[in-house]
Subunit: 447 residues, 2 copies
């Protein structure tokens, strides 16, 4: 079995912890069984393994999330990053092409596609196992997971099973789909035995590839990747589920939540506070998450969430946490903290010059053995002060060893690279105009 | 008339905006008549001038506050900084010695001593004028201001006037003092016509100097200053007011508040928000003060104060704001932001080395024409990256001009100084062990 996790979204609803560079599924806020903290993607991958599904895992994602996935899951998962953001059908089509061309999976291999951020339990993954059995038995071209509804929600899509005499069947044939109904319609759907569409799809690889070939006839993954824009911008539901000649649904009854707002997320936090927090003695149902070094003091709060990160500070009544997105969407700030493949950086200061332009100071951490690519900037000088560790610094082809206290001065147009021997920490001051991440030209370098 | 403002205190109750380097009276949170923001000390000095008291102003303070006073009030006020913290009597005795020896004020000059942080109105300063008249007429050795009480408070000291047939008298003889009574006693005091002791004392300089000479016989201010520890650690109330043979009180009825907690301070703020704040649409009686560059978003809050500074973040129900001090007293953090005579600095990062020691990164602003003293450090290197402006850098006696993009590398034991030609902004990385402000040796340098 091949398990494909869909990982996208900017997750502005969990601002300031999530931003364009760190979606909600990468926030290390959940408690793992061993007491350490894990993110939503780390949790689902752990659960998939615990369910002994004997599945290989591929993440279908975008370029911005690649580094976060590698940092959090290492090399045990494959990553297919779409070259541009389109919709769920193209993303799944690209992942299928990868499994077909690059991993040489056979046409009758079962593929299960699922979101990377459901907060759920082992039974969910056992249901996936039962869906795979149905696909193998050719019960239908497409097998979906149907979540047993707990209330007539307006937020979800519904899967309506066809009437069947055999209620003990493992898979029910699907009669139709209904998107986000009114409460009245939802109540009617519940009476009909409808299930929530949890976005989990199982099918044989050959079936999906036959649909892929309707848009791109290709003989390699690289070619499909290069022609990615030829896929239509359409969801998997519309392009595949709605058009399939036979669809079945396997029900799942159990814990299943979207931790997409502070209100729902804090319900699942095992601790009231994370980080440097000082609590007064009269807080009630209040959660405080502090990613800053300085302390947060709270007292006399009720039903409130406080979240602090280098991007900003949130103080919000929990029942208002759904309103965050519309306000925060107007903020067009650069991320002040990012996890990258090679390590992390934090913006310390973004000072105005007297002439209105700006100077940027970052604290950068490079993991042992990792390097920053050989690069140059056309519009800025960079000055690095090495604070800790040892590494190799290359400037216009000349290599020198650097350590704590050393200074690297890189003028614009000078080629430079840096490799950490031990964990390397340095302060970077960028001076120039304009100061944008895009002012970078990369070159090959052999270490 | 000589007006002496007493300025001390660490003001932990207004954490995180106030700290040991910035007491509450220097926070620029009040709106001046011209719409600009002013601090408590700027407000009282402005009001004293508006009352046309024809008074020269001296601040009796400590070394830590000297730079803040110069920055906020310029050179229009004199400053007497005690060499060590003792109590109010020694502080006032030192200020009196300064007026006697250094300013050569005559013995019959009227001195009025008052706190630097009352939130009050013009009538208060007009009352000071009437107190001075009483001192000139020798109505008593010591004339106090009595605030007409508005409720039987347990927090204040009370002045009980002697029974007098003449209720229209400008000054009433004082019968006794009572410190912080119970509510029941306070109610009785109110019936007796007692007044709150507002800590405003008026006397002739010669009277005070006769008390000073009981402890230190001296012929110069410098000598008195050097012998400061010979003054007893005692309050002015106990040493002078309680022992005086004749004390009179001049009543003041009007606005008089101590803005010493977030609850009382926010009542007087003209704006709900200060700084980079994004407000949702359902906040009620909530004040947000943000001194950070990143945004604060608040929604669904009621009767709450949010305050953010480089030192930390406070989120507190207003009626719990008196509890802050006991929690924050346990924080023994260095100030992350300071105003100095020469400019300001902010700690950007306090990174741990792999061996457990630390590296400190600061952003420093030096005002035009100002300089950092010629100094050396025994335990740290400093690396300065000039971000904006022009200046003169001295290293072991060699002067060079520096500007944006230049780097100054200062090894331990190297003598260095810096003077700003235009406003100079630079990033300082300190590397060494231990990293403490005390690792500094200062030398003379003639620019």
């Amino acid at each position: 079995m091949q398990l494909v996790f869909l990982s996208g979204g900017s997750g502005k609803r969990l601002w300031p912890l999530s931003n364009n560079a760190r979606s909600k599924q990468f926030l290390p806020l959940l408690e793992a069984p061993d007491g350490s903290m894990e993110s939503m993607v780390q949790r689902v991958v752990r659960q998939a393994k615990e369910a002994k599904l004997d599945a290989q895992i591929t993440f279908a994602t975008n370029a911005a999330q690649r580094d976060s996935i590698i940092n959090q899951l290492g090399t045990e998962v494959d990553i297919v990053a779409e070259p541009e953001r389109r919709d769920t059908f193209p993303a799944i089509a690209l992942a299928a092409s990868y499994l077909h061309f690059a991993k040489h999976c056979p046409d009758d291999e079962v593929i299960v596609v699922m979101p990377s951020d459901p907060y759920t339990e082992l039974g969910y993954f056992q249901t996936i196992g039962r869906m795979a059995v149905q696909v193998q038995r050719d019960a239908a071209e497409l097998v979906l997971m149907g979540i047993t509804p707990t209330y007539p929600s307006e937020k979800y899509g519904y899967i309506v099973p066809a009437q069947t005499a055999d209620n003990t069947a493992e898979a029910l044939p699907v009669s139709r789909f209904t998107e986000k109904p009114t409460v009245a319609v939802a109540q009617e759907l519940l009476r009909e035995g409808a299930l929530w569409n949890g976005g989990v799809f199982a099918f044989k690889l050959g079936y999906m590839m036959s649909i892929v070939r309707k848009y791109i006839q290709s003989s390699s993954f690289e070619d499909t990747y290069a022609r990615y824009k030829e896929f239509p911008k359409i969801s998997f539901d519309y392009e595949v589920a709605e058009k399939a000649t036979s669809v079945a649904v396997v029900p799942f009854t159990g814990k299943w939540k979207d931790l997409g707002t502070w209100n729902t997320l804090t319900e699942e936090l095992s601790r009231e506070t994370i980080g440097n927090v000082l609590l007064g003695d009269t807080n009630e149902n209040t959660h405080i998450i502090n990613e800053l070094d300085v302390p947060v003091f709270c007292n006399g709060l009720k039903d409130t969430v406080v979240a602090c990160s280098p991007d900003g500070i949130l103080v919000c009544a929990k029942d208002k946490s759904e309103t965050i997105k519309k306000y925060v969407d107007n903020l067009s700030l650069r991320p002040m903290y990012e996890e990258r493949r090679w390590g992390t950086y934090k913006v310390l200061s973004d000072l105005p010059y007297s002439d209105g332009t700006r100077a940027l100071t970052k604290s950068i951490m490079l993991r042992p053995g990792k390097n920053i690519s050989y690069q140059l900037h056309h519009h800025r000088d960079e000055i690095w002060t090495i604070v800790d560790g040892e590494g190799l610094f290359v400037l216009d082809g000349e290599v020198r060893k650097i350590k704590r206290g050393d200074v690297c001065i890189i003028h614009k147009e000078q080629l430079h690279a840096l490799k950490a021997i031990t964990e390397l920490v340095f302060i970077e001051v960028q001076i120039g105009t304009p100061l944008v991440e895009e002012d970078i030209e990369r070159f090959d370098y052999t270490w």
